[in-house]
Every structure is written in C-alpha cells, then in structure tokens.
Symmetry: C2
Subunit: 347 residues, 2 copies
C-alpha cells in the first residue's frame, strides 16, 4: 500500500517533494518556502496561465500512471505559454488528495512534473498540498516570458492569412478511445492475468498519456523570422480552436480535409472503431499541437518547416467558417470539442 501521507504531515510532505529543487532560470529569485515566490522579469512580457484538473473529469487513474499524470499536467500548461509565442519559466503545483494515495504515489507524480520541467527548463517555485474528501485534484499555474511586441494572441488573424498546424491530429483522442475500450473489456477480470495488447498502437497511447508541448515549432518559427498573426494550442479540438481564432479575429476560414495531418495509426484505429476519421481529427482534442496563422507572404518560409502543414486560409468574416471535403463540398465548422461542464450531464 505504500507509506501513509499522514506520517509526513503537510509541511513534511511539501519538504519531501520539493527538496533538491534548484532554480534554473535567472527570472526565478526565490522559490518554495515563503508566503510567496519572487520573480524578476526585465524587459519581457510576463505570461500567466492556469489549469485545474479533477480526477474522474479530466483523468482516470485506472489507466493513467501517476508519473504520466504529473508529466502531462505540467506539459499542457507549457503548451499554453508556447501558444502565446512565449517560453515557460516557472510553475506552481497545488494538489489535493484523499487518504487512498501514498507518499510513493506522490513521488511518482512529482517525478513526472520534474521530468517535464527539466526538459523545458522550468522551475517549480511553489504550490499547496492539502487533503480532499474524495479523489485527486491538481492546480497548476505556469508563468513564462514573451519578447515585447512578439506575443501572439488569438485575435490577429487577417483575411488571406494561411492557417497552419503542427504535427498530426486525432491521435490523442484515439488513444483515449483505446484506453476506455480496454478498461471496459477488463472490468471485472483479473488484470494481472490478462494484459491488453497495444502493439502497433503505441503512438496513440503516447499521444494521450505523454503529450509534448511544441517548443520546437516556436523556435523554428523564430529562426525563420516568422511571427504568427494568431496562435493557440489544440486542446479542445481543431474545429473549436479555429472558431475561437476566427471569432476573436472577426474573420472566416476555409480548411481543406485533404490537408489535415493524420497519422497512419490514427487512421487504422478509426476504421477499427468504425468512426469518421476527419471528425476525429477535427474534434478530438488533447493533441496539444499549435494552430497558427501567418501572412500569405510567409508561405514559402512556413512550408519549409518540418512538422508544419498549411491546412487552409483565413477569409472575410461574412464567408463563415467551413471545412472543404475531398469532393469539394463545404461543411460549416461547429465546435464539438470537449466541454467538462456538459460532460457531467452524461455521467
């Protein structure tokens, strides 16, 4: 069962989890251990994003290992900072947990957080640890820096801008479907005896359980001298995010089904599940890829960046937002992304 958390107490636990943390960034002046952390950002824009993740709503511990949960919790916040064309620098990590969790569980969770932080050179500067009556809750706030004048909002897309997306879409959603199916199949069976066979589907699981924030894309854009006119990360689904950018930019858009980047494993899985592949890619969510728009004049430069696909263009607002199918038909875009407050109704 592992070590009971009460043996350490709140402050003992925080000390245990945060000991050995060394601040890596110049902007981190003082971290864990006082009423507040102290930062210093000279001549930079400061970016702040926050996420609250609740067990049973955002994650299912029957198939998500604690280390992956920590890693993903940090990574999705980094993704929000990159989506502003910024660089994450600090996070605070607050958790609430019930008695069923052990010290070892939390060590795993923190190991995941720390791994993500090490990869992205982010400092853990504070947080809060407390109990809950049921389940596990995670609140992370991430602080980052942006160059003055180069922070990218959602509202800057202009008519004729190219719409680009990094990586591929729909795989994280397929990974979730796969995990949910195996959970249903194995319910009531002795899990030690029957292990699910995920061979050939590793990519889908990795996309769901271990997403990577696209720092590489932000860096490549900077190297090419491209400042996107609008950008956000794909967390709720491409359709939903495109509608955000278009609404906030007072614009319309056309995206082309044939250009939506989809991995081979995603396509195979959609067929196995008898699901519409394009729908999965458009509405799947949790891909944490970057969706951005660039001026038409950047076409050549952006086309050369590996891992970036031009999927359409921005139009005047009166043309609305539409997907053009392979046979040339127009389908109005609708946000069918994940809505945690509606989700609850179904359960």
């Amino acid at each position: 069962m592992g070590t009971e958390i009460s043996t350490l107490g709140e402050f003992g636990l925080i000390r245990h989890l945060t000991e050995g943390i060394e601040l890596k960034n110049d902007s981190s002046k003082y971290g864990v251990g006082d009423d507040a952390a102290v930062l210093e950002y000279r001549d930079k824009e400061i970016l702040v994003t926050t996420d609250l993740l609740i067990e049973g709503i955002h994650f299912d511990l029957t198939y998500v290992p604690m280390k992956h949960l920590g890693y993903k919790s940090a990574m999705v916040n980094f993704s929000d900072i990159y989506a502003m064309n910024g660089t994450p620098k600090q996070i605070t990590v607050s958790i609430a947990l019930s008695k069923r969790f052990s010290v070892e569980d939390l060590e795993e969770f923190y190991a995941g957080i720390k791994l993500a932080c090490d990869l992205h050179q982010v400092d853990i500067i504070g947080g809060d640890t407390t109990s809950s009556l049921t389940g596990f809750a995670i609140s992370i706030t991430c602080i980052g820096e942006g160059e003055k004048g180069k922070v990218v909002y959602r509202n800057g897309a202009r008519n004729t801008d190219l719409i680009c997306v990094s990586g591929d879409l729909g795989a994280a959603y397929m990974g979730l479907q796969l995990l949910e199916r195996e959970k249903a199949v194995f319910k009531g069976q002795d899990q030690a005896e029957v292990q699910p066979d995920f061979s050939g589907k590793e990519y889908l699981l990795e996309r769901q359980l271990k997403p990577e924030a696209r720092r590489d894309i932000v860096r490549k854009l900077a190297e090419e001298g491209i400042v996107p006119t609008a950008m956000m990360d794909v967390s709720d689904g491409l359709s939903s995010e495109l509608l955000y950018i278009c609404t906030q930019s007072n614009a319309g858009c056309r995206v082309y089904e044939e250009h939506i980047p989809i991995d081979y494993q995603t396509a195979v899985m959609a067929e196995e599940f008898n699901m519409n592949l394009t729908t999965c890619a458009m509405n799947g969510g949790e891909d944490y890829e970057l969706l951005f728009t660039v001026p038409l004049t950047d076409h050549e430069k952006v086309s050369q960046i590996e891992g970036v696909q031009v999927i359409g263009h921005i139009t005047k607002p009166e043309l609305g937002c539409a997907l053009i199918s392979r046979d040339g038909q127009e389908f109005e875009l609708k946000a069918q992304g994940w809505n945690p407050l509606k989700e609850e109704e179904k359960n």
Copy 2:
C-alpha cells in the same frame, strides 16, 4: 433551485462571470480570453502565491455564504502578498463544481471575489471553470509587486529584533467554534424556525467569515520608513508562524503572554467554551494578521503605529522559542496550527 450551469456551458459560464471586468493596473496588459494572460512589471519584483481550497476541508457551505467564500478566498491570497511587503495586483480564479451549484451560486461567489478585488485594486486576469464529481474546489493564484530590495522574507530576523503583530488574535478561531456549535445544535431541526442568536458575537463571526488582509499595516510601515527584517501572515496560528520565522532565521524568541493582543469578545467566548484563552490566541489560525520583526532601533517608530503590538523579541538560536506566562514561567512553543493532512485522520 436557480439556473442550471449546463444551460451556459463552460465557456458561456466563464464569459458570464467575467464580463464587465476592466483591468485597473498598468501591469495588467491582457486578461481573460487567450491561452495566457499578459503582464508587464518594470523594475519591480514579482510575487506569486497560490492556494487550493477544498469543500469539507477548508470551508463548510452549511454556514459559509458563497459571497463570503469568494471574498475570503481572494483575501487570504492578498494577505500572502502583503506578508512579503508587497502589493497584490492580479489573480487567477479556478473553480471546480458539482451539479448541485447553480449559476446564481457562482454569481454570488464571484461577487465576493470582485468586492475583495475592488477594495484592493486587484485585476482578475484568468482562470479555469470545470466540473467536479463532488463538492466545490477553488484554486487562486495571486501575483503582486514588491519594491526591489524591500521584499521581506521569513528568514531575516536577527537577535534582539522586536516581534510585532497587527490587530488581535484568536477571534477567527472562536468564530469557527461558534459556527460549528450552532451547526451541531441546529442539525436535524428546521433551520427556518430557529435562528441562532449571534448578538454580541458579531466580531468573531466577521473575523472567521470576512477576514481583511492588512494592507493598512504595510502602508503604515512604509510611511514610517520601516522595512521589517522578517514577516509572514498568521494563517496557521501564532506559535506555528513564530517557529517558522525562528527556524528559517536560525534564531530563538521570547514572547510575552501579557502582550498578546486579544479582543474582549474572544475572551468572553473562550470562557463560555471553557477553553484556555492564550492557547486559542497562540494556535487559533486564520487571523490573517501580520507577524513581523523589526530592529530594536525601530522601537519608538513601531510603537506609534496604531494596531501594532510588540509581543516579544528575537534571541540567539540556542535559547529556543518560548512563551513567557503572566507569572513568569517559560513554555516551549509548539506548532499546533492547522494541518489539513492530519485533520483528515480525525474525520
């Protein structure tokens, strides 16, 4: 029952709750509505603090009105920033809630948050709204500014420094006892018929339900040209906080029972409950007063500040931390402050 939250959806709800928010501070460049908020702090230290509050652990909605809960949630974070000798400027507000809450409940909660923010000139710059399977969870991150070189940590107390505390202690704890007693008395009875009589005890309830962060004290210290050598806010109890300052400053302390500031209502209530008054004042918690140390040379200046009481002095570390009772006996200080992770064991 009020309006169901699902009628608005996540984004509709966030829009509804945050509409009409105007940014008041120059350092707030962009608030709610993008992947991250954008701030700019020129030539200031940036202070960051965060709190995660869980229903049933940190608050009991059977006697805490939603508006007070919002007010207090914001205020306790402001208090952490003042305790660094800083000024709160921005907060993010994340909440998770189950189906039993209505849109009107959240409007009340936000009204409390906004009231606290208006009083302290703080901007709401972001957050997250999601569902939970049970109860209500609140995560607030507060960002503030400090003057360079004037941020006050817990580790700067030096031998012979005076120990000072603002306001009075133990009243918030007494307010909690009072509310808990009434809750027990009225359990099972028709609450509409029998209303508890709190007359003469209003101050205790106010201290528990509507704490005020001590900006006034921070300002008075600045006016007098006093920079404390160490400071923190009293959230877990005076004993616990004194031990923090002494441990982190590698010092000891002597505090005098006769100098601990206690309100008349607190004393009356302790007698009614047959509790030791000094114990309540030393270990009560949730007072959100400021505990700080100043050099002996500031004695005259600090004594003139209304609402500040000198309660003792810092010693060499080998003398340990002790309370001197009215009859001259020494009692070693022990932290008996609130520990949410141990609290759980009792329940």
